[in-house]
């Protein structure tokens, strides 16, 4: 296998197959028959998590630390158990907002901040480029080893080849070309790359098969199964200790820290975010991935320890454990397996590099370059009609630059410490996104300043405690860097503030996340979120209300402005197509007929967001649309779920208060009704009593007369007289009851005219003069000449007067009684008084006598003749004409019944 050209050919062949798969998948996708629209493909593509760091590095790590390689895979397993909540939520939110990268995600969450997007991009680039370098190194190393077989040459000890003979250089170029071909074929609104994803899924299968092949070979070919390997290893003290982990608190702490770190990384690494979120076709695919992806991780790790132990037994020294997967088959002359391993390693490297560079180039283009170019007025970009070509160009250059940076780092680092440790250092870098991302998903009050401060602080601490020390250990920084600036012990990068006992990763993770979370929370709580942040918070934290974002655009903008704007970035044809689809979805036939409303603006913004990121999209749309003034209250009210709930509960409280009030009212009304019912019942009972009383006499006397014919004449006459009287009483009663019923129900007939009240009084007195004479009661009148005129019913007034006069005569003593009637005019009303010198009415009875069937005079032994209805009727009549009737009396000093009536306007009592 000395011929390098076979390796080159195999590599190119392999890349050709990848290319074919990607091409085929893209074609299928264009035809609407997506190959990646399947949960298993999704789960496999997530296998991009396993890079050469896994493929070669796990065995190396296992050879050094035993099971120490496992937390890197247990963490993702745990995270994916939560994937059902976290990943699905991120996917949902990202789809709703057309998120194109993790930088876009963070920028969008905190009010579409370009600054934040740029910062995340910088962190990602700084953190991840060395990781790309690691992949190039791995491919290059494996090439060197294979090419120089059957001699086992450790690349670390080989002299560095000049660049043009360096396989890594060509690997970088080929990968750049491949990535550009599949990463930037066109600008998609959703920034998805179906062909690329299909190729990545395929690569996951290849690297698993390759690793399985070598694992099976080593375990069952070289040795005699697991038992044999471990059994033999147990006899070698150096190897036996690999079977157990160090049993110290620090070791368990490191273990937990690594698990935690890889939990975060599996979500936050740009390539993981790209595959898991941006490239996700269907949210439901997440469900299967939560167990299939961990299963993949488990399978690819099954043979790690056997290979490590086998390698250590095979090569007592002189061979890098990182190369065991390759050197073990080679040492046994199994070149075919070695070639397969090489391809597997190649697939692990290419998968990582392709996805990572696509993700980074999108971020660099959307969140770094475009915002700067658009601000650079001198370029005149704001006048160019079609920027979509420029966008693609930027991305292609970004891919090339990222890969070249990776290569440059590789060249510079060589075998330095900085490259070996870079896997975990990268993990720790992207872990800085965790507070902003997960906080942003579940906490509404995070603000732009909070995210900026948290990211900056975390990044700075990470760089100081992990990145710069790795430079120092590589000899790029003076060694006394590790002693702390100015020799300050407290500030020693890897024993910050004197914290010792943690490994460097745990140490850095602790301080950087402490600073990060502290600043994120602290700065967020300095002010409440503004309207835009609150709006985005509602979209991210809430269940992803897609339309909610539209509310941020208070005004609309016409298609004539939005279409060209979108066209500039996504291409005029694609823009027109997208607008047409949108028009159809709104039931509008022509694109030009779309209403210029906030919904259209939102659509255009999200279309743009797919191409240039949400932060830039907002800026571009704002250039043609008046952004709604940040009416915090309005947006909070509409968007903020919590405030909606609050408003809702306030509403419910309000409703329940209203209901209570209504219930109380009803109860009151019911009470009144019952009272009325009781009164009616009482009234009927009283009426029946009043009617039965005369009837009783009539019946009794009639029966007596009828039964006993021997009653003498005198008696007979007396009885018949009683019968006649009681009959009259009954008649009167019935008439008055009917009268009162009419008055009360408002069905009484009134004949209203100008009435001379004095005349009515005079006539009434005349009518009763006979009665008064019979009883020997004096009746005096005091009437003004040309009596006062009122608007009233003459007969009714007469009825009132007669009632009052007959009442008076009823209660005064026979012979000595005196009744005086006076009519006088006072301030627009006429006042009639009927005063007697009777026994008077006790104060407690003065209201009662106006009730039905309540008679005064209970002091008298003789029951006064009357129905008990006269006064209630009189009061009804007087009140009907706008007056009032009352009694003034002192017991023993007589009673005066007084009523007033308003004077008619034109009739005065003047003359």
């Amino acid at each position: 296998m000395a011929q390098g050209w076979i390796l080159v050919l195999a590599s190119l062949l392999y890349l050709g197959i990848l290319f074919a798969i990607a091409y085929w998948a893209d074609r299928r996708s264009d035809a609407g028959r997506s190959v990646i629209d399947h949960p298993t493909v999704y789960a496999l593509s997530l296998g991009v998590y396993c890079t050469t760091w896994t493929f070669y590095g796990s065995v190396g790590r296992a050879a050094a630390t035993g099971i120490g390689f496992l937390p890197i895979y247990l963490g993702p397993t745990l995270m994916f158990a939560l994937g059902w909540f976290v990943l699905r939520k991120i996917v949902r939110v990202a789809k709703a907002n057309r998120i194109t990268s993790i930088a876009d995600f963070v920028a969008s969450r905190y009010g579409k901040s370009q600054l934040l997007g740029g910062l995340v991009t910088v962190i990602a680039v700084v953190g991840v480029i060395p990781y790309i370098a690691l992949q190039l190194k791995a491919v290059s190393n494996s090439f060197t080893i294979l090419a120089s077989s059957p001699d086992l040459v450790m690349p670390a000890r080989a002299a560095a080849a000049p660049m043009l003979q360096d396989s890594a250089f060509y690997v970088a170029i080929v990968l750049a070309a491949f990535t550009i071909l599949f990463g930037t074929r066109h600008l998609d609104a959703t920034e998805r790359h179906e062909g690329m994803v299909a190729a990545i899924a395929f690569e996951s299968v290849v690297k698993l098969l390759a690793f399985f092949a070598v694992g099976l070979y080593v375990t069952y070919g070289v040795f005699d199964g697991f038992g044999d390997i471990f059994g033999r290893a147990a006899e070698i003290p150096r190897l036996a200790k690999l079977a157990v982990a160090r049993d110290t608190a620090a070791a368990y702490g490191s273990w937990a820290a690594l698990t935690f770190l890889s939990m975060l990384s599996v979500m936050l690494l740009p390539r993981q975010f790209q595959i898991a979120v941006v490239e996700n076709v269907n949210e439901s695919h997440v469900a299967r991935s939560v167990w299939l992806f961990p299963l993949y991780l488990l399978l690819i790790n099954v043979f790690v320890l056997p290979i490590a132990v086998g390698g250590l037994m095979q090569f007592p020294e002189g061979v890098d454990a990182d190369t065991f997967v390759l050197t073990l088959p080679l040492a046994k002359g199994q070149e075919a397996i070695a070639l397969l391993v090489f391809i597997g390693g190649l697939s692990a490297a290419t998968g990582m590099v392709i996805v990572e560079t696509i993700a980074l180039s999108t971020m660099v283009c959307n969140d770094l370059v475009m915002p700067l170019l658009l601000r650079w007025k001198a370029l005149g970009l704001d006048r160019r009609p079609d920027l979509s070509g420029l966008l693609l160009e930027i991305r292609r250059w970004a891919i090339a630059v990222v890969l070249m940076l990776g290569y440059a780092y590789f060249r510079a680092a060589g075998e330095a410490y900085a490259l070996v440790a870079i896997g975990l250092i990268s993990f720790a870098a992207v872990a800085q996104f965790a507070p902003a991302v997960f906080g942003g998903l579940y906490w509404k009050d995070g603000t732009r300043e909070g995210a900026l401060a948290g990211l900056t602080a975390g990044f700075a601490v990470w760089a100081y405690t992990l990145l710069l020390p790795s430079f120092a250990k590589s000899g790029w920084l003076p060694a006394d860097f590790m002693a702390g600036p100015f020799g300050l012990e407290l500030l020693r990068p890897q024993q910050l503030f004197g914290l010792t006992g943690l490994d460097e990763i745990s140490h850095s993770l602790f301080w950087s996340l402490l600073a990060n979370i502290g600043c994120y929370v602290g700065f967020s709580l300095r002010r409440s979120p503004d309207a835009r942040e609150a709006g985005q918070a509602a979209v991210f934290v809430g269940s992803g209300n897609v339309g909610a974002g539209a509310l941020q655009w208070g005004a609309g903008a016409p298609v004539a402005e939005l279409l060209p704007l979108a066209g500039r970035f996504v291409g005029p044809d694609r823009a027109r197509e997208a607008f047409a689809r949108y028009a159809r979805s709104r039931g509008v036939r022509d694109v030009e007929d779309l209403p210029a409303d906030a919904g259209l603006v939102h659509f255009a913004e999200s279309l743009l967001a797919g191409a240039i990121g949400s932060a830039s999209a907002r800026v571009m749309v704002a250039s043609v649309v008046e952004e709604a003034p940040p009416d915090l209250d309005a947006i909070m009210n509409i968007l903020d779920e919590a405030s909606q709930v609050r408003a809702h509960s306030r509403e419910i409280e309000q409703k329940s208060r209203e209901l209570e009030a209504a219930t109380a009212e009803l109860r009151e009304a019911n009470e009144r009704l019952r009272e009325l019912d009781r009164m009616k019942d009482d009234f009927i009972s009283t009426v029946s009593h009043e009617l039965r009383t005369p009837l009783t006499s009539i019946r009794a006397f009639s029966e007596m007369l009828f039964e006993d014919p021997r009653i003498d004449l005198e008696e007979r006459k007396r009885f018949l007289g009683i019968i006649v009287n009681e009959t009259e009483r009954l008649t009167r009663l019935i008439n008055q009851i009917l009268d009162l019923a009419k008055l009360e129900s408002g069905r009484a007939e009134w004949t209203t005219s100008d009435v001379d009240l004095a005349e009515v009084v005079r006539e009434s007195c005349d009518a009763l003069s006979q009665l008064y004479r019979e009883k020997g009661v004096a009746l005096a009148t005091d009437l003004p000449a040309g009596g006062p005129v009122v608007q009233a019913d003459r007969d009714r007034l007469t009825q009132v007067m007669i009632n009052l006069l007959s009442n008076a005569v009823k209660f005064v003593a026979q012979g000595e009684g005196r009744v005086r009637v006076a009519v006088e005019c006072l301030r627009g009303e006429v006042r009639v008084t009927v005063a007697d010198n009777g026994p008077g009415i006790r104060p407690e009875d003065q209201d009662a006598i106006f009730e039905k069937f309540r008679q005064g005079g209970s002091v008298l032994t003789d029951k006064p003749v009357g129905t008990g209805l006269g006064l209630p009727i009189s009061r009804q009549i007087v009140e009907y004409f706008g007056g009032s009737l009352w009694v003034e009396s002192e017991p023993g000093a007589g009673a005066a019944f007084v009523f007033t009536l308003p004077l008619a306007e034109d009739g005065g009592a003047s003359e």
Binding site: L70, T77, F85, G225, G227, A287, R288
Partner: protein, 70 residues
């Protein structure tokens, strides 16, 4: 067939419980119980335990998610 809201809630709770179970299984102190020399079917105890627990956890997660289909 889509799961009902109730089933989804149950699934979510099962997964959360499995996450906690995993955290317990893969960390101190449970881990320390198996951290000593010894072999199970010729495989180092700790190694066998970790992979066994891992398989169990994945199986349970798969059971929780795929039950009833979605």
């Amino acid at each position: 067939m889509r799961k009902s809201a109730n089933e989804r809630r149950l699934t979510a709770q099962r997964l959360a419980a499995l996450f906690l179970l995993g955290c317990a299984l893969f960390n101190y102190p449970v881990l320390s119980l198996f951290n000593h020399a010894g072999q199970v079917f010729g495989i180092p105890l700790l190694y066998a335990y970790l992979f066994g627990a891992w398989v169990l956890l994945i199986g349970l997660i798969a059971w929780a998610v795929e039950r009833g289909g979605d």
